[in-house]
Point group: C2
């Protein structure tokens, strides 16, 4: 019974997600879903992304969090239109929440919609939001074994960011080893080691993302 | 419909949890449920706890993880009886899983049962496992705002461990500030800043836990 209900919920979610994606395609918006543990640095990655790409592209943002509007305020301060979704304890965003949030954003002329999911490496990877791809943000302080323990998020990712490389020296983590583990679950996704705090490594990630905007505008 | 089903599941889980707790009480076992984000250091905290309390008390362990038996192997190497639960992607442990795992452990003479939940600050705090209290493990690298964003886990905790204090100097986090935020959501739970990697601060945490064993044997 439980499984049946969950499957129905996922099926309904997928239908709404398809509608969302068609809407983003029609508006020429590239939608990206950022997934990661609490404190992996998703919001700081988004801040750096906005600082780098903001002057070049029209951006929008949807911020998901169980509680507080803190992250939306951080992104809003950078002059980007942002909508906060509070899940009131809910462990993931769902497609219908994105439909509603998108109603509150002007998609006209928008090129990239950055969606920050709830801090959780498990449940969010089950729910298609209508994004074009997801990006997993993993921090080096979480340890090297996370791709093995939470494989689904990594398998489905369009790119993986390894954040907090400025703390690498203080951990036992080997960057090559983590990258190799990620590639074992996802050989195709580009992997971007970076420090969202210092800005080191942010440029290659942003260049890659900007390249996807053009592809999206051309082919989606 | 969805909410109704979820409520039924939680209600059924609570019934099983009560049976688990009665079983632990009858056996004189103190059961503790460790909750935290992926990479907060739960397993390393358990390793240090086992090293410190193992020579003094009879311990057992249940390790929850979406995939891999890595954590159970780490604890098993320390000579403690351990059972691994793989949730196959599931985002939390449930009481029925603990019932089954407890069948595979000899509770006779056991004084503390350490249960490591799946790495997730949200879903595990909804599911009573039959533990006597939960302990939230938060690492300083996750940032100071986590208690506000994930309040339920903190509100329900019997103790909070602030882990990875050896990395404090490399972060923007102020320990007093995090402690004050935790206390705002839970004024009663003791807060233990420690580094499970270096061992600093582990002693006060273990003394407190050992003190609970006696209380448990006397009053539960």
């Amino acid at each position: 019974m439980e499984v049946k209900v969950v499957q129905n919920i996922l099926k309904a979610n997928d239908s709404v997600a398809r509608v969302n994606r068609a809407r983003f395609d029609a508006a020429g918006v590239l939608a990206v879903n950022f997934i990661g543990s609490p404190g992996s640095g998703k919001t700081t990655v988004l801040e750096q992304t906005v600082r780098t790409l903001g002057p070049l592209h029209r951006l929008g943002c949807i911020e998901g969090d169980p509680y507080t509007t803190r992250d939306a305020e951080r992104i809003g301060h950078l002059g980007v239109p942002v909508v906060q979704i509070n899940t009131r304890g809910g462990c993931h965003l769902e497609a219908a929440m994105i439909t509603q949030a998108a109603d509150d954003l002007d998609l006209t002329g928008m090129e990239i919609l950055l969606i920050e999911n709830v801090g959780n490496l498990l449940c969010p990877s089950q729910y298609d939001l209508g994004e074009h791809f997801s990006v997993v943000v993993l921090s080096v302080t979480e340890g090297a074994d996370k791709p093995e323990k939470y494989p689904v998020a990594f398998q489905r990712a369009g790119a993986v960011i390894i954040n907090k490389t400025d703390l690498l020296h203080a951990t036992d983590v080997n960057l090559d080893e983590v990258t190799a583990t990620i590639r074992r679950f996802n050989p195709d996704a580009p992997v971007f080691p970076l420090s969202a705090r210092t800005g080191e490594g942010v440029a290659p990630w942003c260049s890659w993302l900007a390249g996807r905007v053009k592809q999206s505008a051309g082919s989606c």
